[in-house]
Amino acid sequence: MACTPTRWITPRNPSDLEAGAARAPAFALVSLGPLLLLALMEGLVAAAVLALTAVGLSLVFGVMRVVNVAHGEFFMLGAVSAWFVTQWVPGPPALAFAVALVACPLIVAGVAALADTLVLKRLNYNPEATIVATIGLLYIIQQLALSLYGPDARPVPAPFTWRLQLPWFGYSGYKLAVVAAAGAILLAVWLFLRRSRAGLVMRATQIDGETARAFGINVDRVYAGVFALGAALAAVAAVLIVPIQQAHYLMGGDPLLLSFIVVIIGGLGSLRGTLVAALVIGLSDGMISMFFAPTLAKILATLLVALVLVFRPQGLFGGRA
């Protein structure tokens, strides 16, 4: 979990310069209102991506009781593979991006399913052994990305460049599309878990794996599926964010840390709590890093998480212990 001393999910892409350019004179010229609006919109984008990533982590922990330290690397893998896909697919950026949005999560899900079968299953999902094993996975994936993809940060073109022109500043339409897409995907995941048979099987396994097995559910397959689904959610989040924030082999550290924070504050394994916490943390991260030093914000956030785990292990929002 190599943490680069930069900002969290907030953008650092040149294509975002207009928002940044609006930010600098905004302090001098415009009143606080538009600045808050900008912070709110940036926060919404961060929250949307964070919610996707964290729900993946939460799902894996909830059903399998596995703390997946390599989750951030699945995120990174999604972004990096999106770069490769957009390089190989000819035609307009929108088409290449659409292909990446479908293909990359599938690739990452495949990698995750493989990791589950080869490693986690053989450890019998022992919580402590799986943490050590996923730390190993983290190093392996990170190094392979460095060797095959290189140390550079590379941009992926956005599928469209439409801008929303507000009275005070122009805002990237793509970012709003990210928020909408994340919302739609989260809704789909929720419907899948609540309404489909596969979702029912997953929830049954979460509540009582032994009994589920006794009723003829192939628990091993459910686990592989859940692990793949969790990784795919991180990959989708990464593909969505990669036109805003470039693909880099160390980019997994911050999403991992933030997802941890969200999942713990929201209550380990509670999906609703995760969503609420992602919204709160994403928004406040956007706000805080606009007004305070990001490192200080990170210090406070990590300490908060540690204290929540110590004093309120069921999370701040989760009612269920």
Binding site: P5, V67, E128, I299
Partner: protein
């Protein structure tokens, strides 16, 4: 008797190595001995007491920065700085333990990880003093331990060996004492130990503080001996490395941490010669160990051949 003889033999062999090893390996082994002290500390918490911490970089870093900052800004010499490092590591462990030991298992791992991450970020935040990732170079005066000059290779090796020997014998005494047995009892069955009248919280806290003392001393020694103090030593990787050393050498064995540190150090060293991807070796080693050899080298040896190993 046999146990004591074995450990003294290891120390004697390392002393002999001082005269025999070529310069490159001589310098490496000096480093490995300091890292082994760190790993021994980790072993006290993880191997004997069953506390799987992911935050030992905080204790290592606390010792290193306690020593480094006092040397650089207050002009302390190496002797007092080492003691400051020892105290720093112990205090950090006590502070973390008081909070983190209210949790167990996975929560304990995450809480220690978060505290260590907060510590690492704190080092970066106070970059004006710590110079962040760039780090501080320890001035010559700070590398003077009484009459001994730690920037000299031979002296450094012998001081590292002395530290290692003290740490190893103290470790041996600790785990063979009554308290050491209570620590193992906590690992094996906490509820039952509680029923027998031992206080789990106090035992675990004491073990964690002992572990922090080791880590702090190792951190301070690493700083003053090799003349550099940097934020990367407080980073997550230095929480994972002692875990890796201990897993490889054998958790809950007195010599395991040294053996693991030596093996891992050379594994990474050889791999760096072949490829730039030395973290890959760390990752693969972690996976292989946890999958196929969860007991490590000495753990397997103890199981099959030598049940008397401490």
């Amino acid at each position: 008797m046999r146990v004591l003889a074995l450990h003294l033999a290891v120390i004697a062999a390392l002393l002999a190595a001082h005269f025999l090893l070529p310069a490159y390996h001589h310098a490496n082994v000096a480093r490995v001995m300091v890292l082994a002290v760190f790993a021994m500390g980790y072993n006290i918490a993880f191997g004997y007491t069953g506390l799987l911490s992911l935050g030992h970089a905080l204790f290592f870093g606390a010792g290193m920065y306690a020593a480094g900052l006092l040397v650089v800004y207050q002009g302390w010499t190496a002797g007092p700085a080492l003691i400051a490092g020892l105290v720093g590591g112990g205090l950090a462990a006590a502070a973390v333990g008081l909070l983190a030991l209210r949790t167990a298992g996975v929560s304990f791992m995450i809480v220690t990880l978060m505290f260590a991450q907060a510590g690492y970020l704190t080092v970066l935040y106070f970059g004006a003093w710590t110079r962040g990732d760039e780090g501080l170079v320890i001035p010559a005066a700070g590398r003077q331990l009484g009459p001994l000059n730690l920037s000299d290779d031979g002296t450094r090796y012998l001081v590292a060996l002395a530290l290692f020997a003290v740490a190893l014998l103290a470790n041996l005494a600790l785990v063979r004492s009554r308290f050491g047995r209570v620590m193992v009892a906590m690992r094996e069955n906490e509820e039952r130990s509680r029923m027998l009248g031992y206080d789990p919280f106090r035992t675990k806290l004491a073990a964690l503080v002992a572990s922090g003392l080791y880590a702090g001393a190792a951190g301070a020694a690493y700083g003053v001996m090799f003349g550099y103090v940097g934020a990367s030593f407080a980073g997550i990787q230095y929480s994972i490395l002692p875990l890796l050393y201990v897993l490889m050498g054998g958790a809950g064995t007195a010599l395991g941490p040294f053996l693991g540190a030596l093996a891992m150090f050379y594994l990474i060293d050889i791999a760096s010669g072949l490829t730039t991807a030395h973290l890959l070796v760390v990752g693969v080693a972690l996976l292989v160990l946890v999958l196929f050899a969860p007991r490590g080298i000495l753990g397997a040896l103890r199981e099959r051949l030598a049940p008397w190993l401490p």
